[in-house]
């Protein structure tokens, strides 16, 4: 491929994409949110040109769409890799519509084979994978953070520009609030104890917390526990719309094992489940399971560990 672009409002992902993009194209331009240091780093990971797109005070970042369209008109990029953040995905889809080209969201693969680009998506809530081939360009591909490893930085020269908006557009930003720093990082935990709606009383969370503490792990949960019941903060629910974890041990109780939840735990080394329904789908994806009432099994686990 000749020209490759990357677009990212997240510096770390820009570095990951730059490393990957370098192997696919002869020239690489990166459009990133960040300062000069970020730009230098993107260059060290492979970019030839960096165009900085600062977060506008009064309008949304996606407003850069019109600038990017203008640039695409003269530069004719063949492959555009976009960081799959919220802003990134919105911008990628709009850009694809304007360029009348396909866009593949959250591709897990990015390989060149016989002049074709091989991509891969996850479908049906994590139930299956599907390869996608593309041989007409341009194409836009969004890539989630941490999909590819960051390469080794190199001494390299590149050009850096600041990009300005063309007009403010119709959307006005009234207020921005930074997210509170997360109190846990479940993705890093060695052991996660999961709780689902099989727990009928909020007070019962105490035993899950105690068990997690005994094991030196963290408590995670299913979506309804966080979103519907609000018993635990959002950052603790696991699944396709929640966190994806890869602990050594995921031990859960009262979790039915719907595909959307399982997507978040599939990288666990060992999965243990406790459920009082002999036919619970979670057993199919478990290494070990106990058919039983969590109100009995969890306390028994706690006393055995003590």
């Amino acid at each position: 491929m000749n020209k490759v672009w990357i677009i990212s409002d997240h510096p770390e992902t820009a570095y990951e994409l730059a490393g990957k993009a370098k192997t696919l194209g002869t020239s690489l331009t990166a459009y990133v949110l960040g300062d000069n240091d970020v730009a230098q780093r993107v260059i060290s990971f492979g970019a030839d040109v960096v165009k900085l797109m600062q977060l506008p005070q009064t309008t949304v970042w996606e407003q850069y769409l019109s600038v990017l369209l203008q640039e695409a008109g003269t530069e004719n990029p063949e492959l555009i890799l976009v960081a799959s953040t919220c802003r990134g995905k919105d911008l990628a889809a709009q850009l694809a519509a304007k360029l009348d080209c396909p866009c593949v969201t959250d591709s897990k693969k990015l390989e060149e084979k016989d002049g074709k680009l091989v991509l891969q998506r996850i479908i049906y809530g994590g139930l299956a994978y599907q390869d996608i081939e593309c041989n007409t360009f341009p194409v836009i591909v969004t890539i989630a953070p941490h999909t590819f490893e960051k390469g080794e930085p190199e001494e390299k020269q590149g050009e850096i520009f600041n990009l300005s908006l063309i007009g403010e557009g119709p959307i006005q930003v009234v207020e921005r609030k930074a997210k509170e720093a997360a109190s846990v990082n479940l993705a890093e935990a060695d052991i996660v104890v999961g709780v689902g709606r099989g727990l009928t009383q909020q007070s019962g969370l105490a035993m899950f917390e105690e068990l997690a503490k005994l094991l030196g792990g963290e408590v995670g949960c299913t979506r309804p526990i966080a979103e519907d019941l609000k018993w635990l903060p959002e950052e603790r629910y696991l699944g396709i719309t929640g966190k994806q974890i890869k602990p050594n041990l995921y031990l859960c109780a009262g979790v039915s094992g719907q595909i959307q939840h399982v997507y978040g735990i599939r990288e666990s080394k060992v999965i243990v489940s406790i459920n009082n329904n002999e036919n619970a789908p979670i057993f199919k994806v478990s290494d070990y399971y106990i058919v039983g009432d969590l109100e009995e099994v969890i306390p028994a686990l706690i006393s055995a560990l003590k």
């Binding site: 996606e62 889809a93 866009c103 593949v104 049906y124 994978y129 921005r176 997210k179 994806v285």
Partner: protein, 260 residues
């Protein structure tokens, strides 16, 4: 204000099974349903109808979508527009957005389009922003709160690093996150009333498109189930009581070196 909700008729993923021999998927038992994410979009439309008194329409495209008409109408919209044809199976987002945008143009006068975040089958999360770009409407994605005052729309977006409150004058396309609301379950009365509401089938030519507009340059390959090789050992089998089972589990986990 005229509001239109887009929705997708998808196969219920809970009824798709994996053929373990060849990792193919078995769809025999899977029935259609209104994409869960779009139920939040429909609910937002229904609540705006109640609070600001807008007209509410729904639109969908795909294979076999006629079957969805009564269901969607029972959830609030007064009227539904749909395009149903065998050729519209497994549409790529680019095509879905092209068709829906053309339908919206044809219907005319739509001030606000509401979409779900994505669809539970392919989850590409593109259709809302793509429709916005095609129609020249503002795209307000990842919405967790929506306020409408006259033609002014205020949306709170939940992004990776925090929230962003934005203001725009219609027209706009809003794509909502599932947490924005809890969709109501239609009552029997609403289900019966839905049967009397109008639905309009549109053909490709009627919205000014041709077969060529259904093409995408992507080639979709075989589907392979993401099966997890798991041991599936029932620990309490043959145990006298829970404490024996628990002791056996702990021993096993220590042997596997996942527990100290």
């Amino acid at each position: 204000m005229k509001v239109l909700v887009c929705y997708k008729w998808v196969l219920d993923e809970a009824d798709i099974f994996v053929n373990e021999q060849d990792l193919s998927l078995n769809f025999d038992k899977a029935k259609g349903k209104i994409n869960e994410y779009d139920r939040n979009a429909i609910e937002l439309g229904a609540s705006l109808k109640e609070t600001v008194g807008c007209e509410l329409y729904a639109a969908t495209v795909g294979k076999g979508v006629k079957a969805s008409v009564n269901d969607v109408l029972s959830r609030g919209p007064e009227k539904v527009f749909y395009m149903d044809s065998p050729g519209l199976d497994s549409l790529d987002s680019s095509v879905t957005a092209r068709l829906l945008a053309a339908m919206i143009k044809k219907i005319g006068g739509i001030d606000l389009v509401i979409c779900g975040e994505g669809s539970s089958d392919f989850y590409s999360r593109q259709v809302g922003p793509r429709i916005a770009a095609l129609l020249g409407y503002a795209s307000l994605s990842y919405a967790v709160d929506v306020q409408v005052n006259g033609s002014e729309i205020i949306v709170t977006r939940k992004l990776d690093d925090g929230t962003e409150v934005v203001k725009v004058s219609s027209p706009a396309v809003i794509s909502v996150l599932p947490e924005i609301n809890k969709p109501r379950i239609p009552s029997l009365k609403q289900i019966l009333a839905a049967k009397k509401k109008p639905s309009t089938s549109l053909a490709l030519e009627e919205i000014g498109l041709t077969e060529a507009d259904l093409a995408t340059s992507l080639t979709f390959g075989d589907v392979a189930a993401a099966i997890m090789e798991r041991k599936r050992i029932r620990i309490d089998e043959g145990c006298q009581d829970i404490s024996e089972a628990v002791a056996k589990l702990i021993k096993q986990l220590r042997a596997d070196r996942v527990l100290n």
